[in-house]
Symmetry: D2
Subunit: 102 residues, 4 copies
Amino acid sequence: MIAEISVIPIGKGVDLASYVAKVVKIIDESGLDYKLHAMGTVVEGDGDRVFDLIKKCHHKMLELSERVYTTVKIDERKDNKGKMLEHKVQAVEKELGKNLKK
Amino acid sequence: MIAEISVIPIGKGVDLASYVAKVVKIIDESGLDYKLHAMGTVVEGDGDRVFDLIKKCHHKMLELSERVYTTVKIDERKDNKGKMLEHKVQAVEKELGKNLKK
Amino acid sequence: MIAEISVIPIGKGVDLASYVAKVVKIIDESGLDYKLHAMGTVVEGDGDRVFDLIKKCHHKMLELSERVYTTVKIDERKDNKGKMLEHKVQAVEKELGKNLKK
Amino acid sequence: MIAEISVIPIGKGVDLASYVAKVVKIIDESGLDYKLHAMGTVVEGDGDRVFDLIKKCHHKMLELSERVYTTVKIDERKDNKGKMLEHKVQAVEKELGKNLKK
């Protein structure tokens, strides 16, 4: 399973990096493969572990903020166990005949 | 906690209502307060129960489809236990001085 | 075309209804069909008009707040002009054999 | 302005890379800075140009598919013109005291 997690504290001003970092730390320590980008973190792993991680991330932010806004996008396919994190990008690059990694 | 759940089967054609209905049935049977709208279902309840329900909805669709795309938006505030499902809409209506319920 | 719009001011505290109301007012005045729910507003109409409205909503909030976080979900099908706002919910209700409107 | 765009064809089977590539091609040709990841593409640029691009991406997919599901997340702050694509990730990495780029 692959999931994009984005957790935002509401009511903590406009600079959120220090809050977001505390959530990313939990993702980093989970041992799951992940990739941080400018609008969220994409995580890959066993479904139960990813769902647990989503919950942990949300709860962590709730320790730090009165109100929390979390968005999650999940993509799971039965025939594709593992490596979607890389393969999805590579499949698009192959179609384009172009390496987009910068 | 309030969460909007949207679960879509990929690869099952363009008419998805019969698939979506099976997920909404699980939400309906959960006993949690919810409201179905054209782009998803908004559910309210205890955090653990809502997270469990999200997982159940996603897994249900995975029984029915090779690939599943799930999007979730969560809004939780510590000072507001219960009734956000109605209160959030009412607070906006009050500001507008207008009842938007149609 | 049907679109769910959710526009949140970042850095304006935890009570956002007065800000959200100003965006909903723009949607209300657009003349397009819409439905406000607890996690966003679902709007239906001609594609160009809906895209214009999304932009207007985002810009309105940017007048009111230093930082704005907007999420949009769009569902468009070529064979279904109009009435998706109601029909999508009705199609699910029909499958369930149950009226969910409360 | 920074926006994450994700455009999915509904009813075109489970392998979507060839469709997604046609949308990413449009983003690539727009001249805007962007970063493709496993759950979408994050684009940065002037607000009008980014909104135009979102519309173009959605319409491109509609040429290729009967039904299209598009999700967009936008983050804009008035005091931060440009470079959010990199700075947001760097700010989190700085907080963590760790380079996450792999």
